[in-house]
């Protein structure tokens, strides 16, 4: 049985990574040519890892379910990427980024991993600029920065509201260079359906060609899971429609421990849902909170009038507005971390102050920013700053230059002009901090099986700060894994090619085939989406922004029943040997139905509130999250043994030697 050893090297925090790199085993260039690595997923983590591993000389096989690696959902990240460059001279440093990340994660992450992340963050920016990523610049031609939630410095680099797109296209271009050189073999429209473990080591995968339906065996000396998070377990989330947990979950079932599944990030600024047919939720970048102020009316009469359409938001005067984040958290105001902002919105809406028909929306208002910028610009232009119309026009132009694409997206979806009326927003599931447990090398509990990016659990504790997902994805892929994987592969230089004829491959393949034919021949009476929506509702109601012991016990029971019903009554049209989108969905939902149960179990056993995990039983009088450091300063790593909720708990104790563990206050 696998045991938990984080493998954090000894020595001073600041020296650990450098000393470790100097001491680990390397594979010489000639031997790298004889070693194969499989990477599953082409987001920032998978794309950057594929490119760098190929460049180092390994033979890389990369898989994605989309029609091109450029479609991976990292592309939708909007706001920015953090790096401790201190270009603004505002007191930033590696230590401060490390500190903010650990504090933001509510002291539930591993110190050494986070410090390393902060340390390599500056390389990422240099690297991306060298690749031709067009970051925003100031008039002097230097890189511009903005600020994100939970921090007091401006360290976020950005490319309008499309930072993820530009970074992903950078990684994609680096991949293309290696594909052209023949060092990466790219498998588009392929989905990984199992990991193959031979003699205790990950030696390959079983994948389905999504066009022909063919089940393929692929072998390698190591397998890297970079398949992202599992937010779609909620059905409605800001994830892409195809984002799924299948690769990670299959790895879990083959021996990889799953860590902290209950740590989910509910992002505060998303477009509220509008109807039953809703297929996904759309995020509005957190960067909007730099200039937008969040409020609901103070008086219930105004709320009622708003809902009846008798009153407009702009008609409510300043003194009748409740800027509740500024009121509750004067130090950070609208820029409190995501978990805090989301819960505060829920608190106001639960109290009845939601501003739309469903009662689940608050305002995000740019009018003060428009006037502030407008006056500044009028002054610069030598124009009259008391001319309201002019000021509004100039201010709107500046807001447009900062957030134009986000405003346009909002207008297309909601059909309202956000320059004139405040936006309506509500929290939605966005990111999962939990994931496959990995050690300092990013290796899972299965030797040779790695997990990087959102798919692993390591860096964000129980709450991720804005603009840190992009940072982690690229740090893992460009700068961490390519070093640490060498330490493992140095034992494999004499192994030679891995055969796909072994009984392990045969067994895994026949299991996959059996599962797929079971789904297709079931011919029940409910569609896959029917089950996915039901699961989503259980998850949102009972494992969402606020959780209770009673609710979680119910969730475990209900998910179990739903899963049994799924296998009896689901219907999947079409055939096995063709492009069959329903079959793809069915496999993914089957895995979500298992993961959801473990998720609820994890939330049930963590008798404290921390970050994205809020248990109503564990709160302060003011309704803030109450951690229990004495009993819960550990990572919950779950070992699969049968039914998902019967998984065995292993604890990795978290030690904080370089940071004082305190109550997380943003007041």
């Amino acid at each position: 049985m696998a045991t938990l050893n984080s493998g954090v090297p000894n020595g001073e925090l600041k020296e650990k990574w450098t000393q470790y790199k100097d001491s680990i085993n390397l594979v010489n260039p000639a031997n790298k040519r004889n070693i194969d690595v499989i990477v599953v997923g082409t987001g920032l983590a998978g794309g950057s890892a594929s490119a760098t591993l190929a460049e180092l000389g390994y033979n890389v096989k990369t898989f994605c379910y989309q029609d091109s690696p450029r479609r991976a959902h990292s592309i939708a990240a909007q706001g920015g990427i953090n790096a401790a460059k201190n270009y603004q001279g505002d007191g930033d440093s590696t230590y401060r980024l490390f500190y903010d990340t650990v504090k933001g994660g509510d002291y539930r992450s591993r110190e050494a991993n986070v410090y390393r992340l902060a340390e390599v963050s500056t390389n990422i920016i240099d690297q991306c600029v060298a690749q031709g990523v067009p970051f925003a610049r100031d008039y002097g031609g230097l890189l511009d920065n903005r600020s994100f939630g939970g921090v007091l410095v401006s360290r976020t680099f950005y490319a309008k509201g499309q930072t993820g797109q530009q970074l992903l296209l950078g990684a994609y271009s680096a991949m293309n260079r290696q594909i052209a050189r023949g060092k990466i073999k790219m498998y588009n429209r392929h989905e990984m359906l199992d990991v193959v473990v031979v003699d205790g080591k990950a030696r390959g995968i079983i994948a389905r060609n999504l066009i022909t339906g063919e089940i393929e065996r692929h072998s390698a000396h190591a397998v890297v899971i970079a398949s992202g998070g599992y937010g779609n377990v909620y059905f409605l989330s800001t994830n892409a429609m195809g984002s799924n947990t299948t690769a990670a979950w299959k790895a879990h079932k083959k021996g990889a421990f799953f860590a902290n599944p209950c740590y989910t990030q509910i992002h505060p600024t998303c477009i509220p849902r509008s109807g039953e047919y809703q297929s996904k939720l759309t995020l509005m970048s957190e960067s909007l909170r730099n200039d937008g102020r969040i409020w609901v009316p103070k008086n219930m009469e105004d709320v009622t009038a708003l809902r009846e359409g008798k009153l407009k938001a702009t008609q409510i005067s300043e003194e009748n507005r409740d800027y509740y984040l500024e009121r509750r958290y004067p130090a950070f105001g609208n820029l409190v971390p995501r978990d805090v902002a989301s819960r505060a919105a829920k608190e106001r809406c639960d109290a009845g102050f939601g501003v739309n028909q469903t009662g689940e929306a608050v305002y995000l208002d740019f009018s003060s920013a428009i006037i502030r910028y407008g006056k500044e610009q009028a002054l610069l232009n030598g124009e009259d700053e008391s001319n309201e119309q002019l000021v509004k026009k100039l201010g709107s132009e500046i807001v447009k230059s900062k957030y134009g694409n986000l405003f346009q997206m909002y207008e297309k979806i909601v059909d309202e002009n956000p320059y004139e009326n405040p936006m309506m927003i509500y929290p939605a599931v966005h990111y999962t901090m939990g994931g496959i447990w990995v050690d300092y090398n990013l290796m899972t509990t299965v030797p040779g099986l790695y997990a990087i990016g959102e798919a692993n659990f390591s860096d964000h504790g129980s709450n991720r700060l804005g603009a840190s997902a992009l940072m982690q994805g690229l740090a893992d892929g460009y700068f961490v894994l390519p070093y640490t994987i060498g330490d493992y592969l140095s034992d494999d230089i004499r192994t030679g090619p891995i055969s796909t004829d072994s009984k392990e491959f045969e067994f895994a393949e026949s299991n996959v085939k059996q599962l797929l034919s079971q789904l297709i021949s079931n011919k029940g009476n409910h569609s896959v989406d029917y089950y996915h929506k039901k699961l989503g509702k259980i998850m949102w109601d009972k494992c969402g922004m606020a959780r209770t012991e009673v609710g979680l016990n119910e969730a475990i029971k209900e998910i179990k029943e739903l899963r049994e019903d799924f296998w009896k009554n689901v219907t999947v049209p079409g055939k096995l040997n063709e492009l069959n989108k329903e079959l793809e969905k069915a496999g993914r939902v089957a895995d979500f139905l298992e993961l959801g149960e473990l998720f609820a179990k994890d939330a049930l056993t963590r008798n404290e509130s921390c970050g994205g995990h809020f248990r109503e039983e564990y709160a302060t009088k003011e309704g803030e999250a109450k951690r229990d450091d004495k009993n819960f300063t550990f990572v919950s790593a779950w070992e699969h043994v049968g039914e998902p909720s019967e998984a065995k708990l292993h604890k990795e104790k978290l030690d904080f030697e370089n940071i004082e563990v305190k109550e997380r206050s943003y007041k």
Partner: protein, 248 residues
């Protein structure tokens, strides 16, 4: 609202394919176009008819996976949006809507509304990158200042999502807008200038080899582009191409 849908159905790349008619009711105007198709598919599954295959993923207008030729326009009647961001409020009760795949020789149909756009990947592989190693030993990001205007124009070009609407809209099925967006981005940045010559030659040659047509300056691509990629990029690429050939 109630709608009549005429949807292209084609079993596989070798099948001939034809338009089939489906009726759909209870369409809300706040639905996105793809949510309307979700509702149709749920209905078809219930009736035992195979659902319509279409590509989509992020549903935020950024991944470039969704396509669809709607009433004779790539991504439908609205401007500056992808199909996933097109909302049913752009249609009226009782409308008949024609839904077809993006059509071009270089984009063969895979099934129903799904096409194969891997030719775009191959063009990018022929030169759409800066040849810099990714192991992290580059110079400081601020060591070369880049004029804001250049950075902004490069960014605008770089926002191309590779959906293929430009090709589908062009009467010649030309990929000039797509290719020129990448060539422009790099030609405006000092990091990209080093390999500018080889890049433009290789990418243009690859584009021809993949079977895309020539540009005759009709500008339909720019009109239908969901990201508003400008025709200026094509001029810039032509300039780069001519210069590269002269300097050869």
């Amino acid at each position: 609202m109630k709608l009549t849908l005429k949807i292209w159905r084609q079993k596989s790349s070798t099948d001939k394919g034809s338009l089939e008619t489906y009726l759909i009711s209870e369409v809300s105007e706040d639905m996105s176009f793809l949510e309307m198709l979700d509702v149709l598919n749920e209905d078809l599954i219930e009736k035992g008819i195979e659902p319509v295959a279409f590509d989509h993923d992020c549903r935020e207008g950024i991944c470039g996976m969704c396509s669809l030729y709607i009433n004779g326009e790539a991504h439908g009647p609205d401007r500056r949006v992808t199909t996933c961001q097109l909302h049913m409020r752009k249609f009226n009760d009782g409308d008949t809507i024609f839904i077809e795949p993006f059509r071009a020789n270089a984009f063969p149909v895979v099934k129903d509304l799904v096409v194969d756009r891997s030719a775009f990947d191959r063009i990018q592989q022929s030169g759409g990158y800066v040849s810099v190693n990714t192991s992290g030993n580059t110079q400081d990001a601020n060591s070369i200042p880049i004029p804001k205007d250049d950075a902004d124009i490069a960014f605008d070009a770089a926002t191309c999502i590779g959906c293929g609407a430009c090709v589908a809209s062009c009467k010649n099925s030309s990929a000039m807008l797509f290719v020129s967006a990448k060539v422009s981005q790099f030609s405006l940045l000092p990091q990209g200038k080093v390999e500018a010559k080889e890049r433009v030659m290789n990418m243009v040659n690859k584009m021809d080899e993949e079977g895309f047509g020539n540009c005759t300056n009709t500008g339909a691509c720019e009109v239908e582009c969901p990201k508003g990629i400008s025709l200026d990029n094509i001029s810039r690429m032509n300039r780069e191409f001519i210069t590269a050939n002269v300097k050869k």
